[in-house]
């Protein structure tokens, strides 16, 4: 029985692993945002930029992983 040949790099596996952390982080940020707005709906305008900023910062890590997967 011939084994299927797999060529290529481990970069994509590494990228998959590196996406776990930011994924959890983004989830936590929006969970906190949702429960904050649920408790105090008038704080929405204050919380929204903060949540999006946190989302952007956490997401950046995943995107660095993607860039490095292609660059390395």
């Amino acid at each position: 029985m011939a084994l299927a040949a797999l060529d290529g790099t481990l970069n994509l596996v590494g990228y998959g692993l590196s996406a776990i952390g930011p994924g959890i982080g983004v989830g936590l940020i929006f969970a906190a945002y949702v429960s904050g707005v649920a408790r105090q709906p008038e704080s929405r305008n204050l919380l929204q930029p903060i949540a999006i900023l946190g989302f952007a910062l956490a997401e950046a890590l995943a995107l660095f992983g993607l860039v490095l997967a292609f660059v390395l």
């Binding site: 797999l6 994509l12 930029p49 900023l53 910062l57 997401e59 950046a60 995107l63 292609f70």
Partner: protein
């Protein structure tokens, strides 16, 4: 590119970074360059047409132009920067419109390429934002005080300073512009690649697939359409995040104390 061969099955050439390189149209001019020029024309034309005859009681066009301006002024600049926001609004508005139009190019039929997925363009924008916030900070406080405020957070024990000063300096001066540019670039790059995978994959399954594959291709196209809508959201969001972060960095440079 080894990644391309990794994802490729027999016969199917998976999309990769090669799909972001365009042939010359004429004399070294490529499609992304044309798109950038087009976006400048669109942004200029939009504000020129809508602001040409500004009246106290605005016309519909003037209202459209002013609502974009007002969104940046009230939603980004005033909230982030505070009382001195007024002189940064023109830069932030231009930045927002420019990035937004270039991102939206990614889902406009015929154009269909987000020019910000070439690293050169977001790098230049990040450099401009970096120069702006550093210039504003140095101008306000002088080089020494500005660097001191950047590197030394208030109320930290002295023994930790040798570790903290290089870290804070590195974080503010070096990684800030890097992340600002890379975030925009990588989002557009990944989004465009995702669309290519679904559309080209569906295309291959429909035209060259064996057995049941042609009948499965509609799923790929439906995913492609769904992802296009998702991309529209991401493109607007990234333009917003880019100006929001620029405004926050300017605010940090202007702030008296942490």
């Amino acid at each position: 590119m080894s990644l391309v061969t990794l994802a490729a099955g027999p016969g199917f050439e998976a999309p990769g970074p090669e799909d972001f390189k365009f042939p010359d149209i004429a004399g070294g001019v490529t499609k992304p360059m044309v798109l950038i020029v087009l976006s400048v024309v669109i942004v200029f034309g939009f504000y020129w047409l809508t602001g040409r005859r500004a009246l106290v009681v605005p016309s519909r066009a003037q209202f459209a132009g002013e609502s974009v301006y007002r969104f940046v002024r009230d939603g980004v600049a005033r909230d982030a920067i505070g009382p001195e926001f007024a002189r940064f609004v023109p830069y932030l508005t231009a930045l927002f419109s420019f990035v937004l139009v270039n991102n939206i190019f990614g889902i406009i039929p015929v154009l269909q390429f987000p020019s910000m997925s070439r690293i050169g363009f977001p790098a230049a924008l990040a450099l401009m934002s970096w120069l702006t916030f550093n210039y504003v900070g140095i101008r306000r406080k002088g080089l020494g005080t500005y660097l001191k405020q950047v590197c030394i957070p208030p109320d930290v024990p002295t023994w930790i300073l040798p570790i903290l000063i290089p870290l804070e300096f590195f974080q503010t001066i070096i990684t800030r512009p890097l992340t600002l540019g890379l975030r925009l670039f990588a989002n557009m790059f990944a989004g465009h690649l995702l669309l290519l995978v679904f559309i080209l994959g569906g295309d291959f399954m429909l035209l060259h697939g064996s057995a049941a594959l042609p009948f499965l291709s509609p799923f790929a196209f439906v995913m492609g359409i769904g992802m296009t809508i998702f991309e529209a959201l991401i493109e607007v969001l990234q333009a917003y995040i880019f100006v929001l972060l620029t405004a926050l960095y300017i605010a940090g440079a202007l702030a008296e104390e942490h």
